[in-house]
Symmetry: C2
Subunit: 637 residues, 2 copies
């Protein structure tokens, strides 16, 4: 075994940022970047590097604001409605179109609608013209030398117009900060290649490059460097030689890789911080080499993306001269207890929805490996250091990832997750682009309890009651107390035995499970309840089945265990078997319902959801999925 | 004269939009565009054209979540802290790095920190491992076939990661809507050329192209077409032949040009609307030709930009499958009476600031030619049809152009505008990127009255009191009532006589104005008060000066009239004379002060402003400007 530095010394986020800033100051790299001249047509969303002053006034001459006749107002004083004044064309009055310069000696325009024609060369007016009427004065919009655009301002479409209108062809904008990204890790493959067992797809470089691009920088991604100190050191040295503003070393998932990163930075420069008290994110490394900041980004995808948000984007903004953005925030009630490590700033991804007039935050999976906890998040809640966490019902301050209005148009479904709920979400979105269906997977019973606590608009459940041999309704009576709730059928789903391809053991019914190595589901799962019921029906004792104690937590985990040869069969959905290319022995069709409290039934959101559910083309699409029936979809039980 | 269709028949905005939608439906052009496959690295901010499902699970095998040893949990049951269990390497325990697949027969990982080494080939553990501890289960993040990204969703950095992580190399995104922009108008020059007298710079095409680009479309801009029916018709026909999603015909400023546009559309297709009851914007033309929508965009820059916001951007969003964006809104008190045409939806550009705890909206210049009323706007207030306007103190609903937080950090200065206030705004921004100084020009006296009504944080004024021969203080006493207000000197400015280059009449003092053609300022202007005082000092009667009655409203207008030869001289700032390349005869230095109510004095914003004003490098910069002195800048009078 090689020796490893196992414990990281974490420093608080603010201290880490301060160290980085101090190092940048010392290196003379803390200031916004110099400017480059760009043609206006390329300047959108770039940042001004100096105030822009009007090179000429706009308009740059007094001009007609209407189509009509330019006159000297003083010479029209006697005109009255009942006493027309004749003006000689070419002497007293001059035809002008809007935008045309006023001829010398004129200071007013009479609208074409307000004149009559007396003869070939003269016209009649019926009111005196006020000086400067219907005239756009020189400089009305912009006066030569005045400031048109401030420094450090992102250029919007109208700003480009103002620049062009005041005589500019180009604008001095901040150079885009250049970032060199070096992914490392012997187990990683580029996302363009198909990974084998034991290989992982490298995509943190894509995420960070996109974050940098969105913030206004430019990123170049190097080839993946294996976990080899000399190669990493060489890659870092060649990146530094390009003189970018920033180098990112993306670690593979192994903690060992982080040490290579730290060692490589120390070898060519200075290590500023190794481990930061932030969760998820922890093993961030900060360094400075040859005057260039180097950040070691942890390999777990959530950690990597948050490192981008916490360190990389703020640096890009600083170099562009932009003040840190202050995203919108909202206060929300936590639907769950959140335990938080006391020493860390803990960033919790949450789903948000307004239920019964309250803004609710439901924490998504906490694991640093669950990138979908970020893609599905509506916002990020910070539980600061020295807080143990948040009680259920406690208040969270959430930084929004979505506009508030979109969250207010979100329907939240909690409970058992059926993959076809995503089809319903798509249908809802296609029918009404404003509405979103968000589902949080906490199991059938969890969903009913969430309804009871007023935490969701509806719940997905497939709970079989062996006593009455019916689905769901008995559980609503048992768990929902006084809440008046409707059950609407979502789908019937085929449950059965997942077996290896070709069904080598010839399993044909529940009876054939006897003596086989089973992969079971956890106690309390709807599928387990159904399986136990089927066993009892056939008089099979659990003791007769090897592996009855082997519990998995999802349909797919059961399928995976069968695919891995760990078991001979397992109970689950046909769709899970087919997803992994396994065979399937159908045993029963179960009903998956949506439980909807009556008090939300009439809301526009629920009505839109029900309409989507009953949409004939949706039902056709759902029914065409393998292992699904939609003939009762949308009916109230 | 050619006959002209002078009166446009305006239809309401909603009706115009409905007509356009109906025409698009008929033409089969209302639906989102088809998709195109893009590599992930190019997909940022594009819009998904179908839901993306996981092509493989992530992770796609059970893998170690920690560096350590993979074991079969069942075989570790007897390990205790005081009774170590020995595991044979390669038989009972297998070294794994984070991310590595679990070897067959193992289902848990023991962290490397929790083992000791007994011999070359065995290690000791001190606790039983729970099944699946420190294991990332296959599909923990994404399960094969599950929906990773919904349809019609803008792709964010983390979405790219989720796509790559679930086995995608490409993504199907909406094709970018293509827009062909044809600027028209014989008086227009491209912004890359220097316009002469009577020529105007064409920049609406730049603004609309940037709006389209920002919304996610692509615009091509044609060469400017002169006001000639055949040429316009040919340009339109060739644009239609490209089969873009949309054609924009940008009118020149002349009303006549609009008729060419309408006629050209009618010639090749169908005219849907000619004039829409929207202000500013009015003469918008909607048509459909060869199944392609054609919009005639009015020539005034504010009208053009608003036509982009009201018609073009929503079409781009529709073709991308995005639901119309719902920008943030805020309620604000109008600081001024706003008269509004009863038949139109009136879009009023406003500056926003929070003064004394109230959000205040000050309408900016209303003219459709004043593009800076858009670049300076913090938001847009709609005064709907059938409303006559808003009283002073009435409530406006304002759509925000700036984040609310930035507005809350805005200092509002009203009153006389000195161009060097922009220098101060720059300095404030450089010292504290969060703060903005916004100035609204309503004259010295107007500024004091605004302070009295609690509508501004401070006021700029240069009011000379002939009785006391002092500046500003007597006016504060007279107009501010009980408001306790400090006067802080901004600058001393040189006032004098603006004369043609070379001073051909040899004007050397106020006495030389006698018998000359004067360009005067309006009654009540600080500069007029000073001028009248100087005349009286020298015993010159207004009657002795030709043109005393010729009033202009700004320093620059006076300078322009002198430059045009309309007058021989006029009173104004040295900086105005130099801006137009004129000569200048200095007569007096006046004091321009900032009046600051005591009750705002201690606020963080005012303290930041005072610090910027007293910043030595700011004072140096201000003092270096021609016609300015800064030796008393920042001192309290």
């Amino acid at each position: 075994m090689t020796e490893r530095k196992i414990y990281l010394e974490d420093i608080p986020l603010a201290a880490a940022r301060a160290k980085l800033q101090a190092a940048l100051e010392r290196a003379g790299k803390a200031a916004p970047l110099a400017g480059e001249r760009l043609p206006l047509a390329q300047a959108l969303q770039r940042v001004t590097a100096q105030p822009a002053r009007a090179r000429r006034s706009s308009p740059h001459f007094h001009c007609a604001a209407m189509d009509g006749y330019a006159v000297d107002a003083a010479k029209t004083a006697t005109a009255r409605e009942n006493k027309a004044l004749a003006l000689r064309l070419g002497r007293d009055a001059f035809p002008v179109n809007t935008g045309a310069p006023l001829p010398p000696g004129t200071n007013a325009v009479i609208m074409i609608e307000h004149v009559n024609y007396a003869a070939e060369d003269s016209l009649l007016i019926y009111a005196a013209a006020a000086p400067w009427q219907h005239v756009r004065l020189m400089g009305e919009d912009m006066v030569m030398t005045e400031t048109v655009l401030q420094i450090n301002q992102r250029i919007r479409p109208v700003d480009i117009g103002a620049l062009a209108g005041s005589g500019h062809r180009e604008v001095l904008v901040r150079r885009k900060p250049q970032v060199r990204i070096i992914p490392t890790g012997s187990e990683l493959l580029p996302h363009t290649q198909e990974p084998g067992r034991g290989q992982l797809t490298e995509y943190n470089s894509l995420v960070l490059a996109a974050q940098i691009q969105e913030a206004g920088g430019e990123a170049g991604v190097s080839a993946i460097v294996p976990d080899d100190f000399q190669q990493l050191r060489a890659a870092l040295a060649s990146a530094l030689a390009e003189e970018p503003e920033l180098v990112l070393l993306l670690s593979g998932s192994s903690a060992g890789a982080l040490d290579f990163t730290a060692a490589a930075i120390e070898d060519v420069g200075e290590l500023l911080a190794h481990g930061i008290a932030v969760r998820p994110g922890h093993p961030v490394i900060l360094g400075l080499a040859q005057g260039i900041p180097v950040i070691g980004v942890p390999g777990y995808p959530v950690s990597a993306a948050l490192t981008g948000e916490l360190f990389v984007i703020p640096l890009i903004q600083q170099w562009l001269g932009l003040s840190p953005s202050a995203p919108a925030r909202v206060k929300a009630v936590s639907t769950q207890k959140i335990a938080s490590p006391i020493g860390d700033d803990d960033f919790v991804r949450v789903a948000l929805a307004e239920v019964g007039g309250r803004m609710l935050a439901t924490p998504l999976q906490r694991g640093a490996g669950v990138l979908t906890s970020l893609t599905r998040a509506d916002g990020l809640a910070l539980i600061p250091r020295f807080h143990e966490g948040i009680a259920q019902g406690g208040t969270l301050e959430v930084t929004l990832y979505q506009p508030l209005e979109r969250i207010q148009n979100t329907l939240l479904i909690m409970g058992s997750h059926d993959p076809m709920l995503d089809l319903l979400a798509t249908r809802l979105r296609l029918r009404d682009g404003q509405r979103r269906l968000v589902s949080v997977n906490i199991g059938s019973l969890g969903g009913l309890l969430a309804l009871r606590r007023g935490q969701a608009h509806c719940a997905g459940c497939h709970l079989f009651d062996p006593e009455t041999e019916t689905y769901n309704a008995p559980f609503l009576r048992r768990y929902l107390g006084g809440e008046d709730c409707a059950l609407v059928t979502f789908a019937h789903r085929e449950q059965g035995l997942i077996v290896p391809p070709g069904n080598p053991l010839g399993i044909a019914s529940i009876a054939d499970v006897r003596g086989r190595r089973l992969v079971n589901r956890q106690r309390g799962a709807g599928t387990r309840v159904l399986f136990d019921y089927l066993l009892a029906q056939h008089g099979i004792a659990p003791a007769d089945i090897a592996g009855y104690a082997h519990e998995e937590y999802t349909h797919l985990a059961v399928a995976a265990a069968v695919a891995d040869g760990i078991g001979d069969c397992g109970m689950g959905l046909r769709s899970a078997a087919e997803a992994l290319g396994l065979d399937f022995v159908g045993l029963a069709w179960e009903r998956f319902d949506l439980a909807i409290p009556r008090r939300y039934w009439q809301s526009a959101g629920l009505q839109a959801l029900l309409a989507a559910l009953r949409d004939e083309s949706f039902k056709r699409e759902l029914g065409a999925q393998s292992g699904y029936r939609s003939d009762e979809t949308g009916t109230v039980v």
